[in-house]
Symmetry: C2
Subunit: 350 residues, 2 copies
DNA sequence: ATGAAAGCGCTAACAA
DNA sequence: TTGTTAGCGCTTTCAT
């Protein structure tokens, strides 16, 4: 009775003694069917354990009831967390999701995009960066609902989910400042990623707003990986004058930094404070637990799906591109504290 | 020119001045087409940027060229790593992959399975546990290629990828033993998961083979999460006599254990050694870096796809279920060392 | 309210 | 070698 099978609509119709059209109406909840017949159909469906063929439905209706979700890297825990939110909200709205991600060389995006188009997705959420301009033009021409995180690299009707990087990062800088830090370094993400650039800019602006001057030597080029975080610290410890706090463009970077700091015998937060970005679940389990700037996956996912749904409804109406803000907030854990007393002789604490 | 679009085969045929059948032959690489015509077709395909509709292809051919991959939890880094391997090998073989995972309550498997069937996947790799027996029976009846990790919960032609848990865990126990430990605890995974049970059994057997006796009080019930690892350590520190080494059923558990150990001031490995399982990428970045038992995602993924492909070819021939072994091996890092001098009674330090 | 029939885009006989 | 045509499983007019 719990059988999953490959029964076709015709067999159901035969068993119920009705036409395929009636079966179709019943399975699609079209109300103009006689209660008695509908019941017979439902019984037949149950008995044969009929499940409509999705390909066929999609083919005939032109609707796949699928959204595409393109992310950067599957192995950054931030994304699995985002995927779960996205998928669960999509399912709630009757959609499935087709997942795509980019490989180490940022390849693959195009392949996945094509696959998504071929599968006739009804919208694509691009939670990644560095897509070819050409591809974006195509997407625009296809007039397929589209939502970007951070920024739409090309103008069109696409929705952009604007992450309030500045808010959280400013909060972090203030936190550090109030702890007594004035020497703050930053490990950035890949320089060609919009989100990484936005984070760096937010940091620079926050520094300025806190009355601090940025030191170019303290801006390290990371790549949003654990290894990148390690490498940046390795660079840092070679410096004559070093920051007393290090902010990282994402949590993976911060975890890598933590590792290298431990390896060279620098205590966190006693010797140096570290702040991450993303607030992945793991951030509460590092040693020490990571102070980090969180952005809600749920908000991101919901914002994306809402936008896709809205666009799908209003695409032909020429609705203007909407945009919504994703909030960020500092989560204080144990990787930040007052700077060491003699931090190169020039730390003022209050 | 780089346009992705929704042109149909008819428009291509018209532009190339041939029949749709010829276009179909060309796009599918069927060689019986005149070179000149084929060329014209290819030009038209390019000009219109034609991409065949996958739904339609699947519908008519009965072949979706898709494999299903069902995993436990997306948020355990082991799985994203596995997914990448699986997908990349699948693509190499001309297949796409449809992903499914289970939510916190082990729900969802059934939904994804149904979706996979509806999408007419040509095989399913089940890298998870605790599926309902009823569902497995159905799968068997469907005669769809099937591969399980660890064990096939029901007899059929399904391939099982047998992980050599004992080998790696035995190696770990020996490692601990040679370091001088004889008091070894174990944090297990969910008791209803086959793989968790196998890991625990392998530990028990290894202990015996190393001439050690298991202490029931040192077997903690974990759940393969960070939180579970923390909770187990919390239990452990309440014990009168405590182990000098703690093996964990997976890396997430070990990381959780590390966290709680740090919180209560126990140093790793000086006061207590910790060993994980899986060797996720992150294991090299914990504090201290985690000694753990690795199993290759690549081997798992390749084994699964090979099996699926083989079954697809020979299903109707009634080929017997094959099975292949997945190797495991200890990776020694810094979370293990000799036990503390006074390794009896409560370990007090500092 | 129900059914017959046309077709969604494609492949695979079958003809030519 | 190429084209014609009959569906794949389903939805959706259009009659009834």
């Amino acid at each position: 009775m719990s059988q999953i099978s490959r029964i076709s609509i015709r067999e159901v119709a035969a068993l119920a003694g009705v036409s395929v059209a009636t079966v179709s109406r019943v399975t699609n909840g079209i109300s103009t069917v006689d209660a008695g017949l509908a019941d017979r159909v439902r019984r037949a469906v149950k008995e044969l354990n009929y499940t409509p063929d999705q390909q066929a439905k999609a083919l005939v209706s032109g609707r796949s009831r699928t959204f595409g979700l393109l992310i950067s890297e599957l192995t950054n825990p931030f994304f699995p967390e985002l995927i779960q939110s996205f998928e669960s909200i999509a399912v709630t709205n009757g959609y499935e999701v087709l997942l795509g991600w980019m490989d180490a060389n940022n390849n693959g995006a195009r392949t996945y995009m094509r696959r998504m188009i071929q599968r006739k997705v009804e919208g694509i959420a691009v939670m990644t960066f560095g897509l070819e301009a050409a591809m974006l033009r195509d997407l625009n021409e296809l007039k397929i609902p589209l939502v970007f995180m951070d920024a739409a690299p090309v103008k069109g009707w696409a929705t952009v989910l604007e992450v309030e990087y500045y808010v959280g990062i400013h909060e972090a800088v203030l936190h550090l400042r109030s702890l007594g830090h004035s020497d703050i370094g930053f490990v950035s993400g890949p320089r060609d990623q919009t989100s990484a650039k936005l984070r760096l800019n937010a940091f620079l602006a926050s520094l300025k707003d806190a009355g601090l001057k940025p030191r170019p030597a303290w801006i390290f080029q990371g790549d949003h990986t654990l290894e990148g975080g390690m490498a940046s610290v390795q660079e840092m410890i070679l410096l004559g004058r070093q920051p007393t706090a290090l902010m990282c463009s994402n949590d993976l970077t911060a975890i890598g930094a933590l590792r290298m700091l431990a390896r060279v015998g620098r205590r966190v937060p006693e010797d140096i404070s570290v702040i991450g970005y993303d607030d992945i679940h793991l951030a509460a389990f590092t040693a020490p637990p990571l102070t980090t700037v969180g952005m809600s996956r749920g908000q991101l996912a919901r914002g994306a799906i809402d936008a896709l749904l809205r666009q799908a409804r209003h695409l032909e109406l020429g609705e203007p591109a909407s945009s919504s803000k994703i909030q960020t907030a500092l989560v204080i854990r144990e990787s930040t504290s007052r700077p060491p007393r003699r931090a190169k002789g020039r730390t003022r604490k209050r």
